[in-house]
């Protein structure tokens, strides 16, 4: 049993988070004792079933196969990102969604995964990174990052940076350079401020002082914090979160699903979620250490960073420790694209693990 869990450890953590996520989603969609948006719950379960198939299919494919599709997927994702800027649906003042025959998805979700594959592959070409490959890497990062930022979706765009940085580290870039980069990044922030949209500035200002405008932009953060804080150690109980069931939490089935969980399951629940994500990321980075293949190592590091950066930013944002950005919590937030991509990445990890664990 333990061996089986170990063998499928990545799938195990995904499944655990996915299961808790569905329970939380059930609660979040409950109003006056009824599930009001049965469709959403049903959809998410169907997405989960599809995603599990995606995992098994991906796990059974040799990960080297993905080297062959890197170029196509990268170019395709760039084209989609350009396309969404032209014909995408505007929601909440941003052009992030695209619908193809009733199927709505975010090209940026695809772009993130495609970027994980691309950056891992490109930097697996040289034995060790040098200035030329660093520049290539940075350029490959900037293309999708800028396009996503133009939607505008600064949050998603910025997730590409840590993934790129992690892969640079994995390919031997000295951490001193990284520190230098971070410093120059911080130094350039005042200049970047001018390029931010008004609502982004507003969000950052509200983040610094969330109670300033409780019914306006800061409302989400304030209510989310109240939900999490009032959950206490043991939580208010499943289906019993007052912030949740009396509708004080906006976006609670998508980006703010964690506040529902923290309110109803308390510190016990939220630590469990952090533990699950930390274990998944830690297992992934441990896998990277055992990889002989550069591509496999970069992929593991990139995927680990992908999960880390999503979980960390999402939870920190619901707690009000970071500004509100539109990042879903992997495996838990409602949304098909994100779920499919997460399981797809788990599938790749499983495929790498099959290789590495043999040794």
């Amino acid at each position: 049993m333990g061996r089986l869990v170990y063998k499928y450890r990545f799938f195990f953590w995904g499944l655990l988070l996915n299961g808790i996520g569905l329970l939380t989603l059930y609660s979040a969609l409950n109003y006056k004792g009824k599930v009001v948006y049965e469709m959403l719950l049903a959809k998410q379960i169907i997405w989960a079933l599809i995603a599990w198939v995606v995992f098994w299919v991906t796990a059974s494919i040799d990960y080297h196969y993905w080297k062959g599709v890197v170029a196509v997927s990268y170019v395709l994702s760039i084209l989609l990102l350009i396309l969404v800027l032209v014909i995408g649906d505007v929601r909440y003042g941003a052009r992030r969604w695209m619908s193809i025959g009733g199927f709505v998805f975010q090209p940026s979700e695809l772009a993130k995964v495609s970027f994980v594959l691309t950056i891992s592959y490109i930097l697996s070409i040289p034995r060790k990174i040098n200035i030329k490959w660093l520049i290539i890497g940075i350029i490959l990062t900037l293309f999708p990052a800028i396009l996503i930022a133009m939607e505008p979706d600064l949050g998603t765009s910025l997730t590409l940076v840590p993934i790129a940085v992690a892969v640079f580290l994995s390919s031997g870039l000295s951490w001193r350079w990284i520190v230098l980069g971070v410093f120059s990044g911080v130094a350039s922030m005042p200049i970047a401020w001018h390029f931010l949209k008004d609502y982004q500035k507003q969000r950052i200002l509200v983040f610094l002082n969330p109670t300033k405008d409780p019914l306006g932009a800061g409302y989400t953060v304030v209510q989310s914090r109240i939900a999490i804080g009032s959950g206490g150690f043991w939580g208010k109980g499943w289906l019993s979160g007052t912030q949740n069931k009396f509708n004080f939490l906006p976006e609670r089935h998508t980006d703010f699903i964690f506040s529902v969980l923290a309110e109803e399951w308390g510190l016990v629940g939220s630590i469990l979620i952090i533990f699950a994500f930390a274990s998944l990321v830690s297992n992934t980075l441990a896998l990277a250490l055992n990889c002989r293949d550069r591509f496999a190592r970069h992929l593991s590091v990139a995927i680990g960073t992908y999960f880390f950066i999503h979980a960390f930013i999402n939870i920190a944002m619901t707690c009000g420790f970071l500004p509100v950005v539109g990042l879903p919590l992997p495996f838990m937030s409602y949304g098909g694209t994100s779920l499919l991509m997460s399981y797809f990445l788990l599938g790749i990890l499983q495929s790498i693990a099959r290789d590495v664990d043999k040794i």
Partner: protein, 573 residues
């Protein structure tokens, strides 16, 4: 290997961030738990007060005089966005402008969790309409509340009084007794004096509401408790007669039980509609306050007038009781008395008179002589015994005590010695002496009730409990003395020369009493008084009629006559 070291370093960095995040969650969920729990409760729990109706007020035969009627206010929930929408919607429904609604909102805003009243006493139809609209516009709502209704308006306004919003100062004093800002509190009449009995205890309901303020479930509550019922000594039918007859003439009429002090009727004219005072009709309220005839003034207990010849009853009692005169003491009335070169007048030339005739004819000269024999000090002492210059202690707010002058009083207020002329004026109830109708009435009641002076009251029962025991004070007067005085009062009616002879021709009852025509300010008509009791041989009622600038006591006696006739028609006598 550098690459591996990098990954290990990166892994540590990741762990560091996870620990940071866990620490943040411990901070929120453990350290700041109480704070956020309080905020979450504040979020979804709404405590809605349910105002308790005040106790009903009934007459002595348990007929309703004041009660409560369910009314509806329109409120706006302050914790909502888009108040302009609510203002616009309500403006349309109430046929006014959004600006006016907004102004009322700002005026009545109290705190973020208290619904703000923007329209009072709307129709039931509109209230139902708004309840329906709540599903779409949860920010507006209806607040039901029991509105005070006074069944007879002006007829009983001076007895019942009215209620109004508590003032800031009063609230500061009373907040420990469960009063809340903007509560209504008795402002006049028994509404004020029996506030503690009439006031109900408000209830509340605690609701869980959603983000839009829509109630989701009931968490708990307490039912409001209606205030205690108050039964008055007043007889509604008698009050109706009295007010009906007085209407149109400025003055007061009081009818009382001489043995207990129960006020059976108390009316003033002009009066005001106390229903106006509890309504949102500020213009009409302003009119009441600016009326030059002062309809808010309860003349019966707070109007100060010279009692005139009615005071001769006190002087007569004083003369007889002190033994300085007897019923057969005679004085000659040539129509005036000369003192220190000044002439003190009388209404007629009465010639030789004994006490009985002097009372019946209200001869000033006779009482000038009695006054001079008694001296101002003795008149003062007897006036004090009849409690002039003191409040009667009636259970109605705003009573005044009047002035009973003395040598000391005059020295203090005018820095002048007392002259014999002052004594003469004092003897006939003029000069510095000022009294309220209720004081004069009580004096007469004491003469009727064997020298036992009652404390008048209007509050009989609260629930089933008697609230005012009969309180009497024995004035220690000889029964003979009182009989001689009463003989004079009887003769005032029965004798053809009596000042109240107009009351003589009632076949079904006999009346006894004393008239008074009191000089008011120079150049203004005199006040008319009549104080008396009936039936004369076996008194059941003691009554006073006071007519402000009523020219003569004749009209006062005539008014009482019409009241008694009406009482007979209604079978009360």
């Amino acid at each position: 290997m550098e690459k591996h070291d990098n990954i290990i370093l990166f892994n540590r960095l990741v762990y560091f961030f996870w620990i940071l995040l866990a620490g943040g969650l411990i901070y929120l969920q453990v350290i700041k738990y109480d704070y956020y729990l309080r905020l979450s409760k504040k979020n979804f729990i709404r405590r809605i007060p349910i105002p308790a109706p005040r106790g009903d007020i009934l007459d002595r035969k348990l007929r309703p005089l004041a009660g409560s009627k369910l009314s509806f206010n329109i409120v706006i929930n302050p914790r909502t966005k888009n108040k302009e929408n609510s203002f616009r919607l309500l403006a349309k429904l109430l046929k006014t402008t959004p600006k006016k609604i907004q102004r009322r909102y700002r005026l009545n805003y109290f705190g973020p969790y208290r619904p703000v009243v923007v329209a009072r006493e709307v129709s039931k139809a509109l209230a139902f309409k708004i309840e329906e609209l709540r599903m779409v516009y949860p920010q507006i709502g209806i607040q039901p509340y029991p509105k005070r209704i006074y069944s007879y308006g002006p007829m009983l306004a001076h007895v019942l009084g009215y209620i109004r919003a508590i003032s800031k100062n009063k609230f500061k004093r009373l907040k420990d007794y469960g009063y809340k800002p903007r509560d209504r509190i008795g402002a006049e009449g028994v509404e004020k004096s029996y506030e503690a009995y009439l006031r109900g205890r408000d209830g509340w309901i605690e609701l869980a509401v959603d983000k839009m303020g829509r109630p989701v479930e009931v968490l708990g509550g307490k039912d409001p408790v209606k205030g205690e019922q108050l039964v008055l000594t007043v007889d509604k039918d008698l009050q109706e007669i009295v007010y009906g007859k007085l209407k149109g003439t400025v003055g007061s009429v009081i009818i009382m039980d001489p043995y207990t002090g129960e006020i059976l009727a108390l009316a003033n004219w002009p009066s005001y509609d106390n229903n106006t005072m509890v309504s949102p009709r500020s213009k009409e309220i302003a009119e009441i306050f600016s009326n030059p005839l002062a309809p808010m003034l309860n003349r019966a207990i707070a109007g100060l007038y010279p009692p005139g010849s009615t005071f001769k009853l006190v002087v007569a009692t004083a003369g007889l009781d002190s033994g300085l005169i007897t019923p057969s003491t005679k004085f000659y009335c040539p129509g005036y008395l000369e003192l220190g070169g000044a002439r003190f007048g009388c209404a007629h030339i009465h010639r030789q008179e004994v006490l009985e005739d002097a009372i019946a004819h209200s001869c000033n000269v006779y009482f000038y002589h009695v006054g001079l024999i008694l001296g101002a000090d003795r008149i003062f002492l007897y006036g004090k015994r009849f409690a002039f210059g003191e409040k009667t202690g009636i259970d109605l707010p705003g009573e005044r005590g009047g002035i009973l002058p003395s040598r000391e009083w005059k020295k203090k207020h005018f820095s002048q010695p007392w002259f014999d002329g002052d004594t003469l004026n004092f003897s006939i109830g003029q000069g510095y002496l000022l009294a309220t109708p209720i004081q004069v009435l009580r004096m007469a009641a004491a003469i009727v009730n064997s020298g036992k002076m009652v404390r008048p009251f209007v509050g009989l029962f609260s629930g089933n409990v008697r609230i005012n025991p009969v309180q009497t004070k024995d004035l220690m007067l000889d029964e003979d003395v009182l009989k001689w005085v009463k003989d004079g009062m009887k003769k005032a009616v029965s004798s053809p020369e009596g000042t109240a002879h107009i009351l003589a021709d009632l076949r079904f009852t006999s009346v006894a009493g004393k008239t008074g025509t009191a000089q008011s300010q120079p150049g203004k008509p005199a006040h008319g008084w009549f104080v008396g009791y009936f039936p004369a041989d076996k008194p059941r009622y003691v009554a006073i009629v006071f007519l402000e600038y009523g020219k003569s006591s004749f009209f006062a006696a005539k008014l009482l006559r019409s009241i008694i006739v009406e009482m007979h028609k209604k079978g009360m006598i």
